[in-house]
């Protein structure tokens, strides 16, 4: 019987094409808005989380803290207080899997007729493993490179493209700040970092070489940052505490004095970022849902008109044997058909718009099944919710009064 009622409901919709179209349009716009907004929200979320995760998992970052000289405070890392000795000591803590110093600076690279400005990272042999960053060609830095401060470099993809083109860079000599460095390896692609920097535009050199020959300023023996990877997520918080205690001891900080360093837990940063962008998704979705709700009210309005218009028809159907439940089902199916049709079209439009927005406006969008399934479910629910009252009203008509209705 449902099949017959469905086809009847479909006929009823078709007999009032313009009205059905306009009513469904409200739902179409609402669903399209929800799909589009959630896609944008999720795209943003994925982009943020992706760039945090591209740093590697279970990471702690130790920075030199702000220092105070007279009344003037410098920002984080203002005076480098961290040393290679600190790195070695942190490396000895049990939960530490890897630890690497990082010193950075921009350098000019020259190879043959080409030159390029890139971001130099002075690190140790563990850095690439710590970052889950693979070598695509050649090899990474070795312990002996660090110990003897050799002039070797591992290049990012973008540097290779700009200096070498199609040529094989391994074994070639590039001039970095006018010093010759032998290229020993090429990094795999990594993409954007959290601060929006292109990580493929990097050159990796031994920390010792960087300190002594490339980036050394007034604080030659210091490092600007230490990156530490814990063995697992559970050890992360313990490691954070242990590093604080260790560095306070090593830096001779008195009991009530402030740390001269800061420890950032990248997992909690990721969690916060994920929470914030998740909230953004939710907010965008909520705003879009308002239009879906308004569409639902449109359905209810039209269904109420339809019930009034068809009072006599309802009376006839009751006289020839339709019970209340059948009448209820019939009108409910009509509103569900409107919302599902509107919803499916809305999903198509929403997905299409999301793709256009992603390409034209360069806004990150992520089209997943979740908002689509959700939007479909919601449009069925809207049909049931807003169709129920008019359908119930129809089913509760008294047959004789409905038959008398002119």
């Amino acid at each position: 019987m449902i099949a017959t009622l469905l086809s009847e409901a479909w006929q009823a919709m078709l007999s009032n094409r313009l009205r059905t179209f306009l009513t469904a349009l409200g739902i179409t716009i609402g669903v399209a808005a929800v799909v589009l907004m959630v896609s944008i929200g999720q795209g943003t979320q994925q982009k943020v989380i992706g760039s945090i995760n591209s740093m590697g998992a279970n990471l702690l970052i130790v920075n030199s803290a702000s220092s105070r000289s007279g009344g003037v405070r410098s920002g984080m890392g203002g005076i480098p207080t961290l040393t290679l000795g600190d790195v070695a000591a942190i490396r000895e803590l049990p939960p530490t899997l890897y630890a690497s110093p990082i010193s950075t600076g921009f350098v000019q690279l020259v190879y043959g007729p080409n030159n390029w400005n890139s971001y130099a990272l002075g690190v140790n042999a563990e850095y690439l493993e710590l970052r889950d960053w693979e070598i695509e060609q050649g090899r990474g830095l070795s312990e002996s490179d660090i110990n003897s401060a050799t002039r070797v470099a591992v290049l990012g993809q973008k540097v290779v493209d700009n200096l070498f083109g199609d040529e094989d860079p391994i074994g070639q000599v590039v001039r970095v700040k006018n010093l010759p460095f032998t290229v020993i390896g090429v990094l795999s692609k990594k993409g954007q970092s959290m601060d929006g920097r292109d990580q493929d535009d990097s050159i990796i050199v031994p920390i010792t070489t960087a300190q002594r020959q490339l980036l050394g300023g007034p604080f030659r023996s210091s490092v600007s940052m230490i990156m530490v990877k814990a063995e697992n997520a559970e050890g992360l918080n313990a490691l954070e505490r242990q590093i604080s205690a260790l560095l306070r001891q090593r830096h001779h900080i008195r009991e009530n004095a402030e740390n001269d360093f800061g420890v950032t837990n990248m997992t909690s940063v990721a969690e916060t970022a994920s929470e914030v962008t998740g909230m953004l998704s939710l907010l965008l979705g909520a705003i879009a849902s308002i239009s879906l709700f308004v569409g639902g009210i449109g359905i209810m309005n039209i269904m109420l008109v339809s019930v009034t218009e068809r009072t006599r028809e309802i009376g006839i159907r009751m006289a020839i044997g339709a019970d209340r439940r059948t009448i209820l089902t019939q009108f409910l199916l009509e509103s569900i058909i409107i919302t599902v049709t509107g919803g499916v079209i809305g999903i198509l439009i929403g997905v299409g718009l999301a793709q256009v927005v992603g390409q034209v406006a360069a806004i990150p969008v992520s089209i997943t099944a979740q908002p689509i399934v959700l939007a479909f479910g919601v449009s069925v629910a809207v049909g049931v919710f807003f169709g129920l009252y008019p359908a119930r009203k129809a089913s509760l008509l008294r047959p004789i009064e409905a038959l008398r209705y002119q």
Partner: protein
């Protein structure tokens, strides 16, 4: 065999702004299977109310209505709907076909509510449209045919569930006299050939003559109940 219709001291009141108005004041009546009864009476005499109760569209306030020995006063709404669909066939003055549906589907509609399969629905509808002389118009819409044809379709619809009782409320009221005669001959044939009980309301004596028995209502009471041929009017 119990009578198709048995009314015992049936009453019906309506609440109006002026208070309760008694429309039926105690009607007792039996209609046996295969009878053809015409109900007459001036307007306001309670004919329509009586038909609504007979058709299970309304329930009495007092007394009993036994339809095929079932007291309908005690039945819940879904049961009443089932009786309307299976036991009773309605024919209205205004035909009451659904304008958007083909004649075939209009006739088959009561079978939808009895969960009868599509193929059988269509076969039965086509057969009945053939019986009322409209077999060639199965796919037409009600708006494309004449009033007399529409009433034939309505009669086919009333017959499609093979009911034991047909209730007709002024079935010729909207038709010219020639077409009205054809419709009444159709009723007579159905009554005679299929032994279906027919109760028909009319204000036209020439229509009532197609029935065997006449029930005359006046002020909510039975003023006459007997053979049509013996009826010579009631005193004012």
């Amino acid at each position: 065999m119990p009578p198709v219709i048995q009314l015992d001291a049936l009453t019906k009141d309506y609440l109006t702004d002026a208070g309760a108005v008694a429309v039926l004041k105690g009607i007792s009546l039996k209609v046996a299977k295969g009878e053809f009864v015409a109900v007459m009476g001036p307007s306001g005499s309670g004919k329509s109310t009586l038909m609504n109760i007979l058709g299970c569209l309304d329930i009495p306030c007092g007394g009993h209505y036994l339809l095929n020995a079932t007291d309908i006063g005690t039945l819940p709404e879904p049961e009443l709907a089932r009786l309307r669909g299976q036991v009773i066939g309605f024919v209205f003055q205004g035909f009451n076909l659904l304008p958007r549906m083909s004649l075939g589907n209009n006739v088959a509609l009561p079978l939808v509510y009895q969960r009868i399969g599509k193929a059988e629905r269509l076969a039965r509808a086509t057969d009945l449209l053939g019986q009322v002389g409209l077999g060639h118009l199965v796919a037409s819409l009600p708006t494309r045919i004449s009033g007399g044809q529409q009433q034939r379709v309505a009669i086919a619809r009333a017959l499609v569930t093979r009911p034991s009782l047909i209730l007709a409320d002024e079935p010729t009221g909207n038709l010219d006299s020639h077409t009205g005669r054809e419709i009444m001959e159709l009723f007579q044939r159905i009554n005679r050939d299929q032994h279906i009980t027919i109760v028909l309301v009319t204000h036209d004596m020439s229509v009532a003559r197609y029935a065997q028995r006449l029930v005359y209502l006046k002020d909510g009471l039975l003023a006459y109940d007997g053979a049509v041929a013996d009826f010579h009017g009631v005193e004012a």
